[in-house]
Symmetry: C2
Subunit: 339 residues, 2 copies
Amino acid sequence: MPLEALRWDLTPAGLHYLLIHYDIPAVDPATWRLAVGGSVGRELSLSLADLRARPSVTAAVTLECAGNGRAQLSPRPLSQPWLLEAVGTAEWTGTPLSGLLEEAGVEGSAVEVLFEALDRGVEGGEEQTYARSLPLAEALRDEMLLAYAMNGAPLPPQHGFPLRLVVPGWYGMASVKWLHRITVLDSPFEGYQQARGYRLRQTPSEEGEPVSRMLPRSLMVPPGIPDFATRERRLEPGVHPVRGRAWSGFGAVERVAVSADGGESWSDARLGRQVGRWAWRSWEWDWRVEEPGLYELCCRATDSAGSSQPLEPPWNLGGYANNEVQRVPVVVSGGPQGS
Amino acid sequence: MPLEALRWDLTPAGLHYLLIHYDIPAVDPATWRLAVGGSVGRELSLSLADLRARPSVTAAVTLECAGNGRAQLSPRPLSQPWLLEAVGTAEWTGTPLSGLLEEAGVEGSAVEVLFEALDRGVEGGEEQTYARSLPLAEALRDEMLLAYAMNGAPLPPQHGFPLRLVVPGWYGMASVKWLHRITVLDSPFEGYQQARGYRLRQTPSEEGEPVSRMLPRSLMVPPGIPDFATRERRLEPGVHPVRGRAWSGFGAVERVAVSADGGESWSDARLGRQVGRWAWRSWEWDWRVEEPGLYELCCRATDSAGSSQPLEPPWNLGGYANNEVQRVPVVVSGGPQGS
C-alpha cells in the first residue's frame, strides 16, 4: 500500500496535517537518503537499509513539547494551546548518532551539528524547512539516537517517518522529525527555529535565552471520577491512591511532593520504577481524606540538580517551559449515602 | 508488562486521561468479560478469547466525532474545541454483533439494544457510566462489529481496549468504547448520553432531535506550504493538485465540488478509490492558478441521498454535526522570483 494511502486511511490520527508545525511530508522510503556533510573528513549518504544495518540501540525516552502547559498561561501566548497533554514516553530504536559522526570524521573546527528536516513552511515571514542545531558536545553524547522505530514498529508518519533524531533530556523541538540532512558547522546556526523560535523572552525585541533541557515536572492521574464540564474530580471519603509520573532533563528525579490543600502542606510520594535513565519515573501517594468538601491536589517534583517546580507559572512570550505545579480540584462527597 | 505500565510508558498519547469524555478505564484482559442479557432467551458471558474464537470480520470504517468542527461555531459551544481533526479511518477487526444477538435469542418484545461501557463520570449532575442504545433494526445490521483489533493490533487503550462497538455510518458517540455489557431492551433507553447528550437543540429546554448518522463532509489537504501562525497556504502560480477525502453516513459520496473563489464557482473533483463501503472516499482536483493574490479553496461533498454540505455552519447548543464547507485561505505569490 502506498504511503499516501497509509497516511490517510489507516492512521487513527486521521487528517493530522493541521496539528503540527508545518505539514507531515510524504516520504518514499525507497528513495529517501540521509546525508551527512559539512566539516567532516568524509561525506556520507545512507539509505534506510544502511541505517538499519548499523549497530542498534533501544531506549525508553520521555519527550515533552516546550509548549506543554502554554494554555494555562495568561495572557495566553499565540501558538498551539497545549494543556498538559504534550508529553509521552516511547521506546525508540535506532543507531547512535556518535558512531555516524565518528565515521564521517568531525573536523577540529566544528562547533555545532545541524539537523535539517523535510517539513516546510513560513514562520516569522521566513520560508524555511524545519531545522535545529545542537552544540557539538551535546551531539556527541552517547545517548543521541537516529531513530527509525517507535515501540517496536516503524515510526508513524506523525512521529517523523522514516527517521528522527531523539535528544534525551531536551524539550521535543530538538528531536527533529523527518530528518534528511546532518551538517557539521564551524559557526553557530542562525536559522529561525534556533535564533528566533524557542527563545525565552518577555518582549519581541529581546534576544532571549534558548530553550534546551526539560525543567522538572510531575503530573498526576488524580483519584475519583471526573465531572465532564468542570474537570473537577469526585470521590467519597476514604484512602485514595494518587499516581503519577515525573521527569527532568537536568538530573534524576529525587523527590515528588504531594499536597491536598493547594500547596499549604506537602507529603512525599513513594518513587517507583523508571524504565530508563531518560524516561519519566513513576510515583504514588495514598491520600486519606475523611471530611467532605473541596480540595486541591498538587504535585511537585525536585531533581538531583536541586530544581523544583514553581508554584506560579513562569510566563514568557512564546509560552515555553511552563512547568508550574499541577493543580486538580477534587470534591469529596458526604459518603456512600449521598453527596 | 501490566496494562498500567503499557498505558503510561509506551503510548505516544501519554497522559491522555484529560482528552476524553471520562477516564480511560484500566482493564485486566484476563478477567474482563462481555455480558449479553435483557430480553433474550439465553444470557451470555464471553471472555476475550471467546470473542476471538468467533467468526471474524475486518472492515475499514471512518469514525467522526459528532463534535468535529465545534470550534468553528460562534458562539462557541462548551465542550471539546475540535477544529477538523476529530475524524479518522482504521481497519477494525472483530466479530459481528448480529451473530451474538442471534445466539442469545432476541425476544419479540425488544425495541432497542443498550451498550454499556466501563468509563465513569459525572455529566449534567448525574453520575454515570457511558452508555448508549441503538434501535433494534440498527443493532441487527450486518456491519455492526464488536471490535477487538484496530489496524491489525489489539485496540489501544484510548480506542477502547479490550472491546468496542463499531457502528458504521454513525457519528462516533455510538461506537461505545470499553464495552462490557449488552442489554436487549423492551423500552427506549433514557440515560443521559441518549436523552440529554447528543441532541440537536437551540435552547436547553428543547428535547431536541437525536444525533445519529454522519452528515456528508469533505476535507482537503490543501496545496502549498503553511504559514505557521495564520495557517494560510502559500504557493506559486502553476497547477497544484488538491486532494482530500469525503464521507457520509446517509449514502455513498457521489460528488465532490471544489471552489477556488470562496464558493462563487465550483468544479467537480475526480472521485477515487474507497477502501470499503463505510470508509471515506478519496478525491483529487487540479487547481490551475496564474494570478498572484489571495484565494479561498473550498470543498463540498454530495451523497446519494441528495444531501450537500451547507455554506454556513448549522449552529446548535452542543455544537454537533457541523459539516459546513471547509474553507482554506491561499496566498499565491508573484512566481519563483519573489512573492
